[in-house]
Every structure is written in C-alpha cells, then in structure tokens.
C-alpha cells in the first residue's frame, strides 16, 4: 500500500501544509524536506528489494475497471528506481536552494503536490495512468513558473503548459492505438502481444517524448520556461521533467517496440545530432546567462537521444548515465546563473565580469559544473560523453565521431561565458552588488559538486543500476 499512498498522499498533504502553515510560513519547508527525505528512503528501500534478474518489482494493482482493462498497476525496475532516486534527491536539494523563497506555504505545498505525479510517472506500467501522471505534473509547474518566475513568467508558463500539452496528445493517441490493437493498457502485457501498425504508433509516441526531451525542432518552449522559472524550478524542469521524456523514450519505444525502434533509429540519431549541434551553436551565440545554460541543457539531451538510438546495451547504459549526469551538472549551473541574476539584476554575461573576486565559492562551483558540462575527465560529463561516443561509434561507424564536435562547442560556450562573467575586469554592476549566499544554498551546491566529482571518478554504482535495468539486452 505504501506505493499508492506516496502517489496520492501529496494531494492531501499539500492542502494540509498550505492551510497549516499559512500563519507560520517558515514551517512549510521543513515539512516538505521531511516528506522528500521519506520519499528518498522509500525509493532507496525499493532499490534493495529489486529482483536480481532485472525484472519488475510488483507494488500492487489499484482502482480496477475490468471492462476497460484499466487499472493502476504499480511496478518498478532498476530504470524506474534510478529515476525515483534522482527525483527524490533533486527535490531535497531544491528545498535547500529555495530556502528563502517568498510566499513559502504556497510554494512548498505546490512542490509537495508535484512529488506525487512525478513518482507516479516512474512507477506505473499502465500507459493510461502514465499519461495521467505525465499531464498532472504540468499543473503545479504552471503555478510555480507563473507565480514565482522572472519578468516574462506568465508568457513562459502558459507557453510551457500548452506546448507540452499539445504534444502529449500525439502520445495519447498512440497509447489508444496500442490498447485497441493489443487489448492491454499494461506495457508488460503489450510487449507480448502483436501490434498491427507499429510504425504509426511509434511516431505518435516519439513526437510526444521528443517535445518533452526536447528534440529539435520541438525545443522552443524550453528556453522560455527554464529562463523565466525560478532557479530551483529550472532544476526540476531540467533534472526531472526532461528525464520523463528520456525515460518514456526508453520504456515505450526501446523496451516496448525494439524492432520498430531499430527501423527508425537513424531518424533518432539524426534528430539527436541536430539537437546537440544546433543547441550548442545557439548557446555560443547567447549573451543571456540562463539561456546559455538552457541551450546547453538541450544540447546534452540530444546526446542522450544519440545514445538511445544506438539500441545497444552500451548505448542505453551510457544514456542512463548521461541522464543522471545531466541532472547533476545542469542543476548547479542553473542555480548559480539564477543567483547571479538575483544579485546583479542583469541577465547578460558581458555586463557581469569579475564575479570571481566577489563570490569565489559560487564561481568555483560554476566553473566546476561548467567543466563537467564540457566533459573534463574526473567529472560526470567526461564519463557520459565518452561512453556515448564509444557506443555510437561502435554502432554507426567512424563518421559518428563528428559528435565529438559537440564537446568542442560546449568547451566554446562554457569557457567563453566563464571568461565573460566570472573572470575579467570587474564591471560596475558587480562592484556595487552584494553577493552573500545563505548556508542552505551553499550546502546544496557543495552536494552537487561532490556528486559530480564522486560519480565522475567512481561511475560504477550508476552502471550497476544500468546493468540491472538493461539486462534484457544481455549485459556487458
């Protein structure tokens, strides 16, 4: 019963938190923190209960409607657990980085509300419930961006909501056709049934996931949403919501329809490459610090799709590693970019300059995360990019080495932005700004830095999970 409770309890918990802490706003964050820590330990406990053969750990069936073959089937495998752990960890860190957010009762109750459906997305194997949770994550996000965001927040929030909602509809029709042609809503059952029009269903679902990832040309919602969202929410958008797209791609195309995916893997590869290179170019062009980070985020998600397109065990493991790596690397970049804006009241890197002298701690972590983004050995970025390039070359031949250009481009935009914003002569704006950082924010950044280096030096724990998750490809 724990499983279904942690999905639906947040609805009541968030209402309770809002009404209890309206008078004492500072209490909300402690309740949220406690709840997310509980979620983390539950996910951790499930990790240890996973069956060793790589199958699913059943967590129960609920709300059954036999005439429609419709029920909330909860079961998790190593891939889901990896996502659950990542989500819970990011939620905990988000509480620290939002420590001084305004209007805390509403903010943290929306965060708690968000935690339910996002867990549901990664826990259910029923496609209709997957879609329900997928859509539900949008509602708290709409309010979090629209109320706490920056100047253009309303435009960004509504664009984000409508854009992702529209593309989800393609996926929805794909799920309908799956049910019509197989008679099941549950992917573990669909897998064994014959599908009459796999190509059509594959493309419908792929468009839905591609918009979330986001892949070129469906990426235009992301720079607006990520830039205008408060930094902590950008962390959730980049760290968790984009991962829903990658997770969906692996679970519903690779695992569900491997033959069709191989048929269209070239399309995935080309779109992934285009995304990586195109977003990288745009990042070089940006003066706007958070937009630069947002394009860098898109560029890295393109690499994930390239890795998935290989359709090999190595490639998928690399994709999972890069998904986690991307979340941990991009998050501090977003946080610090947002923090720079908060302190200097400018978005533009050429108006910053010399921040290193006034805020050495944040600048150091920005540089570390930037180095990880460009793939410096010893960080998560290196392992991710290396494994992706190796697996892509193995699958597609030597020409794919052009993907190494992506590393070059990211070196370009990272180093140039470090030079413009962090080093160089101190600009008058930086001169008169006050750069004090609260302890919880420092703590959260330190954890990010630690994880980036730790998993960069010791990637084995993540590959262990990948080993278990993709054992159906017949392990390394």
């Amino acid at each position: 019963m724990v499983a279904v409770d942690i999905i639906f309890a947040p609805i009541f918990l968030s209402a309770l938190v809002y009404f209890l802490t309206r008078g004492a706003q500072h209490l909300a964050k402690y309740i949220a923190l406690g709840w997310f820590i509980v979620l983390f330990f539950i996910a951790f406990n499930w990790y240890h209960q996973l069956p060793a053969d790589g199958g699913f750990l059943p967590l129960g069936n609920f709300l059954s409607v036999p005439a429609f073959g419709f029920e909330l089937t909860l079961q998790i495998d190593a891939l889901s657990v990896a996502m659950l752990l990542l989500t819970a960890a990011l939620l905990i860190l988000v509480v620290f980085t939002s420590w001084e957010e305004k209007n805390q009762a509403a903010y943290f109750s929306l965060l708690i509300l968000f935690s339910g459906p996002i867990f549901g997305v990664f826990m259910t194997t029923n496609v209709l419930w997957f879609f329900i949770f997928w859509e539900l994550t949008l509602v708290p996000m709409l309010f979090l961006i629209g109320i706490w965001g920056a100047e253009e927040r309303i435009y960004a929030a509504i664009k984000f909501f409508i854009y992702t909602h529209v593309f989800a509809m393609f996926m929805f029709v794909g799920f309908f056709l799956l049910f019509k042609q197989t008679g099941y809503w549950d992917i573990t059952l669909i897998k064994e049934a014959a599908i009459a029009t796999p190509a059509l269903i594959w493309w419908l679902m792929f468009i839905g996931f591609a918009a979330k990832l986001p892949l070129f040309p469906f990426h235009t919602w992301l720079p607006d949403a990520h830039v205008q969202a408060p930094s902590s929410i950008s962390v959730l958008l980049a760290g968790v919501l984009l991962k829903m797209g990658a997770y969906g791609l692996i679970r519903f195309t690779v695992e569900l329809m491997p033959a069709t995916t191989i048929q269209f893997s070239m399309w995935m590869l080309v779109l992934g490459l285009l995304t990586t290179l195109f977003a990288g170019m745009l990042a070089i062009y940006e003066r706007h610090i958070k937009k630069m980070v947002a394009y860098s985020s898109i560029s890295h998600m393109g690499l994930v799709v390239v890795a998935i397109a290989t359709m090999t065990y190595d490639g998928l493991s690399a994709a999972l590693y890069e998904m986690i790596g991307h979340a941990l690397v991009i998050s501090p970049l977003f946080l610090i970019a947002g923090w720079f804006h908060h302190k200097t009241h400018t978005w533009y890197m050429d108006e910053m300059g010399g921040i290193m002298k006034k805020a050495p701690y944040a600048s150091a972590i920005f540089i570390l995360a930037g180095m990880a983004a460009l793939g410096l050995p010893g960080t998560m970025g290196f392992v991710g990019e290396l494994t992706i390039i190796v697996s892509a070359v193995k699958s597609f031949g030597w020409w794919i080495a052009i993907i190494a250009l992506a590393g070059l481009i990211s070196a370009g935009y990272i180093i140039w932005s470090v030079r413009r914003a962090i080093h160089g002569p101190m600009s008058p704006i930086v001169e008169k700004s006050d750069f004090t950082m609260s302890f919880p924010e420092k703590f959260a950044l330190a954890i990010y830095a630690f994880l980036i280096v730790y998993f960069g030096i010791n990637p084995q724990p993540i590959f262990d999970i990948a080993n278990q998750a993709f054992s159906f490809f017949g392990g390394m």
Binding site: L142, I158, H165, M169, F170, V173, L177, F179
Partner: protein, 443 residues
C-alpha cells in the same frame, strides 16, 4: 413515484418562495432526495406507465442529474427563486426523457423540455437578458418545427415507435433521420446551428445558463443517443460521415471563437459549444462497444463542470459585478474559495487528469479509436489542447495578475454546499471510472 414527487414539489414550491426561499430550497432538496430514493428502489416511471424502461446506466444519469439540480437549487438566491420550481419540473421531464423507450414519447418530451427551457430563460431583468431569451426561444421554435418534419416523415415508414422494434430500413428513413438530427443539433448547439447558443448562454441569467448549457444539454445528449442508436447502427457510413464532420467543425470553430472573447460568459458559452463537438465523437463511433460509455461519461462529466463554472460566475457577477476577463484580475485575493472551485472546474473542462473532464474525454475518444477513427480523435485532442489556451488564460487572470482591491467576499453556505457537491462529482468521476463503464459495456 419519483416523477410524481418532483412534479408535486414543483407545484408546491411557488406557494413558499415568495416569503421564504429557504423553505422552498429545502422542499426542492427533499424532493430530489426522495426521487433519487425511489429511482434507487426501482419505483420510477416504468413501474407505473408504459413506454418507459430503466437500466443501470439510466439510473446513474438520473442520480447525477438530481445531484446537480440539488446543488443548483442550494446555490440560488433572491430573484432567481422561480428557477426552483422550474428545475423541479425539468427534473421530472428529464427523468421521463431518459427512461422512455418510445420514439413518440422522445419527441413529445423533447418539446416539454424545450418549453421548460424557454420559461427558464424568461427570467428577464434587462434588455441584455431579453435578447438572449428571445434568441433561445426563436431558435428552439425553429428546431421544433424541423424535428417534427423529420418525425412525420419517419412515422410513414414504421409501424412501431418502440426503440427496439422501430423499422429503420424504410425508404425515407435516412432523410428523415437527417432532418430530425438537424433539429436536435440546435439543442446540442452543433455548428452551424450554434449561433443562438453563443448569445443565449452568455446573456441570460447565469444560473439559468448553468441549467441550459449544463443540465439540459447532457440530458439531451444521453437520451438522443439511446433514441438514435438503432439508426446509427443501421447506417454506418452516413453516421461516421455526418457526426465526424460536425464534430470537427463544431469543436474547431468554437475553440477559435472562444480564444477571441473578452467576456467570461461568452468564453464559457463557446467552450460549451466546443464540448458538444467532442461529445459527437462517440456518436460517430456508434459501432464501438464503448460508444454508449463514451456518451454517458461525457454527459456525466460535463454536467458537473459546466454547471459549476456558470454558478460561480453567477456568484461573482452578483457580488463583484464580474463581466469581463479584466474584472477577475487577482481574484484569488478577493474571493479565494470561488477562485479555487473555478480553477479546478476549468482544469477539468480543459481535460487535466484526475478530474472527470479527462476520463470522459479518454473514454469518449477511445470509443472513436476503437471504431477506427483515430485521425478524428487526434484532431479532437489537438483541439482540446488548443482549448487549454483560453481556460489557462482565465486562470492566468485569477492567479498571476494583481489587483488593487482590498475587499474580500466569502461564499454563502448554500453556494458552498452546492459547489462541494459538484466538485465531489468532478473528482469522483475523475478517479473512479468503474461505475459508468460497468453500467454500459457488456463484456
């Protein structure tokens, strides 16, 4: 028994409401409860009169109808009091309309409901109301004439009007059905017969609009599906063509029109028209085993959502004089409870999950996919995503914009209980799909 109680209460209420609206409300609520009880025990019309039958699905729709009308009658105040007795008559007629198994009775009761609706909209306070009421009346009268023409043509070709025994393969049947549908489409506000509705829903008193656009439309939807089911099955090609075409035209045009509006009641009116378009998809998919489930689910979800939003708008209009989108800027500070109910119901109308609006669309559209109309369903889904634009736009004005006003208003207890009933319906049917599907799908 249920029918007699409702009509008797309808006659009794006018004696009280001039002096004490509370007693009138209580009589109405007790009548609705008693009617529900008698329907539950199987003591409805079919036990007394011929031409009526009932089943689990019909009963469920009747319970939903009675709950909604009870919620509306609790929320009414002041000059809307005549609506109470009109709603009691309406509920009696609707129960008969839902339970009938005779095409002649269907036509007669359709007229009865139409006449009650003319009286409903005649609650006129200004020129604006009068314009809406006259449009509703004239369009309704035209529709009645068209339906009677089609029915006359149909009656030449059949010996029996019983739904199961009707002769649907006569020479003129297809043309007769098409003419009747043209009339019924007026009531269902299908484009191009929607022009009256856009004005009438927006211009008549909002409580009457709640009943007109929410309750009556849902009832007509379900009863029409039951009445026309045999025709739909007998002419599969014409069914798919007619209903798919009108579904797409209706939803697309209404959604685009809604995007342009500044007046909130007009947005809700066009949203109501767009929803008629979605609701036609299970008609087009009559061949699917899920078609009846789709229609019934749509009607059940729609009755709660649409009634609720118009009732909230009625409260806001009365307390704050809200008419245009700019009037609800920062409403969450002024009227937090109204804002909350409004937002949830708008999300439901937009089709956000865990609310009835989502599951109703899921079931209705699945029926479409099941019948092979996945392209139509994809267009409908994209339309419903487009519709999110204007629903979220209203929510944007409520929560994201600021107001200078310092006054706050609270809900009256009656209104609060009414909204809670409607919200319970929206949430319950958004999570629990079993009742409706088990009642309609034979497996």
């Amino acid at each position: 028994m249920s029918f007699i109680i409702l009509i008797a209460a309808g006659l009794l209420v006018p004696l009280f409401y001039r002096n004490n609206i509370f007693i009138a409300k209580m009589i109405a609520v007790v009548a609705f409860l008693l009617a529900a009880y008698f329907i539950y025990t199987g003591n409805s019309l079919h036990s007394i009169f011929p031409y009526f039958t009932t089943d689990a699905a019909t009963k469920l729709m009747e319970f939903v109808l009675l709950a909604t009308l009870a919620a509306v009658s609790l929320a009414l105040t002041g000059f809307e009091r005549p609506l109470i007795s009109q709603m009691l008559f309406l509920s009696g007629a609707s129960i008969a309309f839902l339970e009938t198994n005779n095409f002649f009775m269907y036509i007669v009761l359709f007229e009865v409901i139409a006449i009650i609706s003319y009286i409903l909209v005649a609650n006129i306070r200004n020129f604006f109301n009068a314009e809406g009421a006259i449009k509703a009346f004239i369009a309704g009268a035209v529709a009645s004439g068209i339906i009677l023409l089609g029915f006359a043509l149909f009656s030449f070709t059949t010996d029996s009007f019983n739904y199961a025994e009707m002769n649907v393969s006569g020479k003129f049947t297809l043309i007769a059905v098409a003419i009747m549908l043209a009339g019924i489409f007026y009531k269902l506000t299908v484009v191009p017969m929607h022009g009256w509705a856009a004005d009438a829903y927006a211009q008549v008193n909002h409580a009457a609009a709640a009943i007109l656009s929410g309750v009556i439309k849902s009832v007509v939807l379900v009863a029409t599906f039951k009445a026309f089911y045999k025709f739909l099955i007998a002419y599969p090609v014409a069914t798919v063509l007619i209903f798919s075409f009108f579904a797409i035209v209706t939803m697309t045009l209404a959604n685009f029109m809604a995007l342009w509006q500044k007046r909130i009641s007009k947005i809700l009116a066009f949203s109501s028209i767009a929803h008629s378009g979605y609701a036609l998809i299970p008609f087009a998919a009559a061949a699917s085993a899920y078609s009846y489930a789709g229609v019934l689910y749509y009607a059940v979800a729609y009755i709660f959502m649409q009634t609720s939003v118009f009732l909230i708008l009625n409260d806001l209009r009365r307390e704050l004089g809200v008419k245009y989108l700019q009037d609800i800027k920062g409403l969450y500070k002024v009227a937090p409870l109204h804002s909350l109910f409004f937002t949830v119901q708008l999300f439901s109308l937009a089709g956000i999950p865990l609310l009835a609006g989502f599951l109703s669309k899921a079931v209705a559209f699945y029926a479409g996919v099941d019948a092979g109309l996945w392209v139509i369903v994809l267009i409908a889904l994209l339309n419903s995503a487009l519709a999110v634009g204007y629903y979220v736009w209203i929510i944007k004005h409520i929560y994201f914009d600021d107001t200078n006003s310092n006054e706050t208003i609270t809900m009256t207890p009656g209104s609060l209980i009414g909204q809670l009933i409607l919200l319970a319906g929206t949430v319950y049917f958004g999570i629990v799909a079993g009742n409706i599907i088990n009642a309609t799908v034979v497996y």
